[in-house]
Amino acid sequence: MSAHSHAEDGHGEHREGYDFAHPMPVSMLLTVFGILIGLTILTVAQASFDFGSFDLYIVMGIATVKALLVGLFFMHLLWDKPFNAILFLGSFVFLALFIILTLTDSSQTSDSFEPKIDDVVPVVAEG
């Protein structure tokens, strides 16, 4: 069923500001859903392999691809007014700033709340 099947019932298709709906094709929705499920299976599958220190990057990479798919298609960002996308992406910029700065700080000062118990007791040198 298409959005324009009602074109003749006098809804004023021709008028500015009255015809702005953009229905997503069902096939596209189903395709995106299929890819998302596939990526979920991939994420679970890769958990049984050991990629050493790349683990976190692989997992976050897959999650980000999924997030992009949801954002661009399900959330309609591909066809939306760019300003909305800028706002949304802006929030992630500030989130990244927040997390990076907090992590760098806590890696310097975290001993105060998570003591490292393997510190060697310093020997007082007798001068």
């Binding site: 998302l36 499920i37 399900f74 007014k81 907090t102 998570e114 393997d118 060697v120």
Partner: protein
Amino acid sequence: MSTIDVAPENAHDAHGHDHDHPSFLAHHFDTPEQQFDSGKLGIWLFLVTEVLFFGGMFCAYAIFRMLRPDVFEGSSQFLNTKLGAINTGVLLFSSLTMAWAVRCSQTEEYKKLTAMLASTLSCAMIFLGVKSIEYSHKWGMGLLPAGSFFYDPANPHPTATEMVEKHGFSAGTAFFLENGLYFLCAPFALLMVGVLVWLAVSVLKGDKFQTACAMPLSVVCICFFVGVGLGMILESGSDEGHGAHTVAGEHAGDGHVATGDHDHDHASPAKHAAVQVGTDSDLTIRERLATDVTNSGISSELSARERQTTLAQGSVVTDTSTIEGGISETEQNVLTPRTAGIFFGIYYCMTGVHAIHILCGIGVLTWLLIRSVRHDFNRQYFGPVDYVGLYWHLVDLIWIYLFPLLYLIR
């Protein structure tokens, strides 16, 4: 376009054919598109606050994982990956039906719109049902935030009396932890009974509109218990989540990698002096064994011998940091109430706030469902469906990140 004389609101005729003032167009907007765009900007701004709000918890997660990766790895063994994966699938499917619902509201397929909203709601309920199995299972085992954490590998499922005697809980708290699932299911059971009664009454009264609302909502309420059943089946079919009885032992040596820089470099000059102590063959065997990192005891013994030899030769040893086996370096058990408790505190906080968002989503989706039965939406007025859809997709997005970060840590 004139916006001065406002047409009287007529909720039952969404297709107001007075084109200057369709009934759905608020008087301070010129066109439906302007109204839609304004609302959309509003919901995007709200989603920005949501991202930053959850960001705080992701930040806490990042800090503690950075400080104690071994704790996260060990504690994560207690989370049932199957349940998490099923929930991810359910939530992705609900995102699909939500996006499809937006489409149906734009193409004015009312029956399908109601069905799609009901599917989205049902998935939300299944999600919560599976979650309640997860939560209650952990509560019974004592996998709680720091301060209440009392998991004991020797006795993973203590009875309520044991909780009171051994762990010092009040009788009421112990009863709650023991029967967590009933407490979680109770509100949903009440809701289900209420909706079913409403359905019966509306059928008896012959109120078609109320019946059309109560029918899908009854299915939605029943779906919570479908989720509970699904969770039970998956939980019983695996011993995952009972997990990490050997976690503490497994990671012997890992903790040092994160905190101290021990190079097992035995090529010090003292090594050859050490040959004087003990027989040659004995020592070579020990040296060969010591090349394996897991034999930390033997390598410590060797380095201790080296130190003794160096001392015996009259030099002064100041740097003791490379000698293992001292009391300051005993391997920490990652399952201590404090450390594992921090992981579970973060786990409950993140998944709990996410579940609260699901509950809010259920609320607004129910409102949408009733309006969709009323045929409120059309090609020029589908804003509410779109806005709720955006919110719902964001909740899905957050889960997309939560699932691997909490459940899939090796």
